[in-house]
Amino acid sequence: MNKKSRLSLLLVLVLACTAILSACGGTNKEQGAESGSSPDAGNQKAVELIWYNIGTPQKDTDLVMEEVSKYTAEKIGVTVKMKQIDFGDYTQKMQVLTQSGEPMDILFTASWGFDYVQNARKGAFMELNDLLDKHGQGIKETLDPAFLEGSKVDGKNYGIPANKELPAQDVWRFNKQWLDKYNLDIAGVRSLESLEPLMKVIKENEPSVVPFMIDRNYVPNLPYDYIIQNLPMAVKLDTEDFKVINILETPELKEALTTMRKFYQAGYIASEVATTTNNSDLTTTGNWFVDRPTTQPFADNLWSASLGYPVVSTPATDSMIYNWSVMGSLQAISANSKHPEEAMKFLNLLNTDVYLRNLVDSGIEGVHYEKVSENVAKNLDKSRDYDMPTFAIGNVMLNYLSEDDPSDKWEGFRKFNDEGVPAPLLGFNFDGSNVLTELAALNNAKDQFWAPLMTGSVDPDKYLPMAIEQFKAAGLDTIIAEAQKQLDEWRATQK
């Protein structure tokens, strides 16, 4: 007995040691591989590019990248190693990786993930203007000029935007099943208030359905263009004088919040909305009636396919080109890249070469997908092991269509892009480095009041004045003054 227990203790110790050692060893090995940008054994001259991308890590990534490397080694003399970081971790992990000088050449950035403007200013990315002129001619030709113009930071380009939808437009998206069942008409729907009669029908007849599916990040649409997303300073969309105002003090916001509160009390909104971060349970079961996503051309097809049941949508806002929509997806070259020229050559190829773009996006032909016709492809079972975020990897308009897509899909995109109206602040990027202390306090105030107020979970008559007071105490007026100063300077250079 005694011997046995001593033996098991020893076993536990050994196990613990190996666990610790292997954990350390694992990272070491990885680091070794990363730092080695030495050429592949087969290709004497090929340079290895390390590419950090957003998205859930896929089983077949290395396999596909091998295939990519074969092609690019021949064409431009580079091989590619992609490292994927999941959506939820991307910003934080990349902050640590770039700040500690991890070797990398190309990396994903956006207004919503690993903040493009902020990190460009902090020096995480290489300035691309010269490189673009030298090796990026193809990008300049294919990309809508508004993308490169709109993604400039202090007059310089730090990232290659993906060629995709340029403006942003919110729509009311309805679960068609309930529309049909109660014979509801969405023709007259546009404003928030206009949803009420429809939601009322659903609430009365379908107690298990959530009429208005939103989460804690929901903010009512207001005719304002924000200086920083979700901080209460903005200019009016039809502004003439470009005056920055506190959005909490506007009548439009008050009205929208009163409506939201009315919806909340009527039970149109889930009672725990202020702490809800995702609604996948509702989307899976179909127990929702309307929500408000951002659209793109032919989005209804895409949504119906991915949800597995039909949805229809109708516009909730005008289609406008905002800073954040232009910077929705970019690929940048890291400031510490040893091979910036090769990286630019690769990005150029990725944005112009149909074979490469589809290889990176959908995997290997015959393994992950098969071609149905010239530019239409069908996913095979193996595509589950290689599911990439299409929007994140360059020019989407080179992609093969899926079988349900209309044949003029990319035409539709171009038309959609042409019709977008520039928002007043397009091209202006606020620099917060003079007001970092205030911004930290402001973000706390925002986290405290934003979700409860915007979702109608608390009474705006009571909480809105409290929020205004708290934001002011956090230094909102200082930041507005700073924003106004920078905005005036920017406008002076625009004339």
């Binding site: 903040d115 902090k122 020096g123 702490t275 510490n336 202390t437 930290a440 706390n444 986290d447 608390v458």
Partner: protein
């Protein structure tokens, strides 16, 4: 010469013991002393220059105490300091009382099998992450389907919107933390109690002392040094709040911030969008310094009162 020889002699004599200390000491140097150089970051505005961390570190600009101002600049400073301190004091006081009580109760259970069962049951929550605990609490407090509201409604009362009502949260948080931590700390005390000399109790029984008397006159006095050490160690972390408890359990609900915002969550919320390394380091350094001062002060007080029980 003689002295050096003596050192070698001592070294040789104590070699096995020194070897035993080696892994721990190495770990300390690697993970606790080496990174201390990094605290200098709190006086810099860290900007990377593309040449790696060290080079960026040296090329970053010195900004003096500017990184610390965000902790004190607003009226939030009072709220987060108050919350952090009061919650931690409550955790220390209630946690110690509950853990000692539990340890004594467990030690008095005659049936060893049952005693082990209770111990395991109490210990289990310790291994759970606060993310999971947060969902447990949510299943109690959900407004429409939560257990508590169902009970309230059965008794004809109106359900409470727990996640927007700050008044209840000090109790919920303290209760949750006790539930999670009590098993672990009571094991420490239980181990000490099992080690006490049984003959003391036998003698007390001979003299006709009741159970209660035995606990008061033997167990508690013997436990005192351990309680003091544990409390001193806890006081050193009084300026650190458990991020998981204060962020995940209230589900990051904004309406609850007046009673759930603590230093750690404040720093996280303030800097998650700007990602300023200097400011985050400043917050950490500030917490460490206050913790250090508090440990020294409380140890000094203990030493004044009772020299034998002081930590150092």
């Amino acid at each position: 010469m003689q002295a050096i020889l003596q050192i070698f002699k001592d070294f040789h004599k104590n070699l096995p013991i020194l070897l035993m200390v080696l892994p721990g000491a190495l770990g300390f140097i690697l993970f606790s002393y080496l990174p201390m150089g990094g605290t200098l970051l709190s006086f810099k505005q860290y900007r990377y220059n593309g040449e790696g961390f060290l080079s960026s570190f040296f090329s970053s600009e010195w900004v003096g105490l500017r990184n610390f101002t965000f902790l004190f600049g607003t009226n939030d400073a009072y709220i987060i300091t108050r919350n952090t301190l009061l919650y931690n004091i409550a955790f220390i006081v209630l946690g110690t009382i509950a853990a000692v009580a539990m340890a004594i109760l467990l030690s008095e259970i005659v049936n060893k099998r049952l005693s082990k069962l209770y111990q395991t049951g109490m210990f289990l929550p310790h291994f759970m992450s606060f993310v999971i605990v947060g969902f447990f609490v949510y299943s109690f407090l959900n407004m429409d389907k939560g257990l508590l509201n169902s009970i309230l409604e059965r008794f004809g009362m109106e359900g409470i919107s727990w996640y927007t009502t700050p008044e209840y949260w000090p109790f919920i948080l303290i209760l949750t933390n006790l539930w999670k931590s009590i098993g672990y700390s009571s094991v420490v005390y239980l181990a000490a109690i099992t080690g006490f000399d049984r003959s003391l109790y036998e003698a007390a029984m001979m003299d006709g002392a009741s159970k209660w008397k035995q606990i008061r006159s033997i167990t508690l006095p013997l436990l005192k040094p351990l309680v003091i050490i544990m409390t001193l160690l806890a006081v050193g972390r009084i300026f650190y709040a458990d991020f998981g408890l204060f962020y995940n359990v209230p589900r990051n609900s904004g309406a609850l911030y007046p009673v759930t915002n603590v230093i750690d969550t404040y720093v996280f919320r303030g800097l998650k969008t700007t990602g300023e390394m200097g400011m985050a380091t400043a917050a950490g350094l500030y917490q460490s310094i206050v913790g250090f001062i508090l440990v020294m002060a409380s140890n000094y007080t203990v030493r004044k009162l009772d020299k034998d029980n002081a930590l150092f």
